[in-house]
């Protein structure tokens, strides 16, 4: 929904942002994204853990090594309910963090929630990050995780005919990239891509980047910073995998469930991408989360207004 004036924040979102701003000002803290990268990764992990997100009980949580073209990578398998008690979709989870921070520990609460609430079998991978590992290392690891999940799902009680690629923010973009590669390479059939506040335009040229690019949790400067870590050539590095909003979608691409936060610098990425999907005859559902902000599903324990959208997201995966 391209608009020049920002929409109103939900009161829950406004309260969360006000609390954050007040403390940052009181402590004279710089924005997290300006902190040196190794320190930022540690801080991000510690801040998420200390915010005490609820950890949904699961029947199985198992650390695994996922084989990739670059060698084994840390992964984790979650099963919400005992094997054999339900027809479980297989969720391959692509974590967020601008491709430079984040990981499976930082998204543990979200993966547990998918597994328990859907219920589902969830496979999460800690893909290689930028800038140490040049693009598309992160996305190729995600594709390799899909292959592993498809191969191993049945042994964990999941249904490999019901594969869902899920992710948030950069990870949601990666989920669509994995679906594109699966189509092009004759890989596993994907039942659904469940993309939460996806980042689909690495040129940062959509209007929402201006409308919501300052003061709405994810600033344009931060997006640009992560883009440049991922793509040293900057906007010139945009391609059909990392910026699917800018290229025609192929017919036969997996259906998409797009969960868009209204007050998000990358909100318009989803609207433009949805037009690409429509033009290609790819089924999609776009859900607008009114007054919410980027990556809000990870903040649901701090922003209660997120809850109904989580229910919708889990239902979409359940029905895939």
């Amino acid at each position: 929904m391209i608009r020049a004036e920002p929409a109103a924040l939900h009161p829950d979102t406004r309260a969360y942002l006000a609390d954050m701003s007040a403390l940052m000002a009181k402590m004279k803290l710089p924005p997290l994204w300006t902190v040196e990268l190794a320190r930022r990764r540690a801080l991000n992990k510690m801040l998420i853990a200390s915010s005490k997100p609820p950890l949904a009980p699961c029947d199985l949580v198992e650390d695994v090594q996922i084989p990739t073209r670059a060698g084994p990578r840390r992964g984790r398998v979650y099963r919400g309910v005992p094997a054999g008690t339900a027809d479980l979709p297989v969720v391959v989870y692509h974590h967020g963090g601008g491709f430079a921070i984040g990981g499976i520990d930082e998204s543990d609460h979200e993966c547990r929630r998918y597994a328990a609430a859907t219920p589902a079998l969830v496979v999460a991978i800690e893909y290689r990050k930028s800038p140490e590992h040049p693009y598309p290392a992160s996305e190729e690891d995600c594709y390799d995780a899909l292959l592993w999940a498809a191969d191993r799902a049945a042994s964990y009680g999941g249904n490999p005919a019901r594969i869902v690629l899920a992710g948030v923010s950069a990870g949601a973009g990666a989920a669509t990239a994995t679906a594109l590669r699966a189509l092009e390479r004759g890989g596993p059939r994907i039942a659904l891509v469940a993309a939460v506040t996806p980042w689909y335009d690495k040129t940062l040229s959509q209007p929402s980047m201006q409308t919501y690019g300052s003061g709405f949790h994810l600033d344009r400067e931060e997006v640009e910073h992560y883009r440049d870590l991922l793509l040293p050539a900057g906007a010139a590095g945009a391609d059909r995998y990392n910026s699917p909003a800018l290229f025609p979608a192929p017919a036969g691409l997996a259906p998409h469930y797009l969960l868009v936060a209204e007050c998000d610098a990358v909100a318009d990425d989803s609207y433009v991408f949805a037009e690409r999907l429509a033009a290609a005859g790819v089924p999609y559902e776009l859900v607008l989360a009114k007054g919410l902000i980027h990556a809000f599903t990870l903040l649901a324990h701090l922003i209660p207004a997120a809850d109904p959208y989580l229910d919708g997201l889990h239902a979409a995966i359940r029905n895939a």
Binding site: M20, M24, A38, A42, K45, L47, S51, K52
Partner: protein, 87 residues
């Protein structure tokens, strides 16, 4: 009289607490588990420790285990500075 490291840590925690600066706790009180400190407060504690002691906490020190209590914070500072914090 200069304040000890533990006194400094207690003051830092009071300043960063969402419960207000008159919050009461012991050195072994689980400040994170008890809600005396929240996730944003951890950032404040980290920053104040670094400013007051003139150190930079390395990434490996930035784990929730080090921010559980005054005791664990003091142990972290001792380890980084190579000396025992005075009571």
């Amino acid at each position: 009289m200069p304040q000890t490291t533990r006194e400094l840590l207690r003051n830092v925690v009071r300043q960063a607490s969402p419960l207000g600066s008159d919050v009461r706790f012991a050195d072994d009180t689980p400040i994170l588990a008890d809600g005396i400190i929240d996730s944003m407060g951890i950032l404040g504690i980290m920053t104040e420790i670094e400013r007051a002691l003139g150190v930079t906490l390395p990434p490996e020190a930035l784990v929730t285990e080090n921010f559980q209590s005054i005791d664990t914070l003091a142990a972290m500072v001792e380890q980084l500075s190579g000396r025992e914090a005075a009571p």
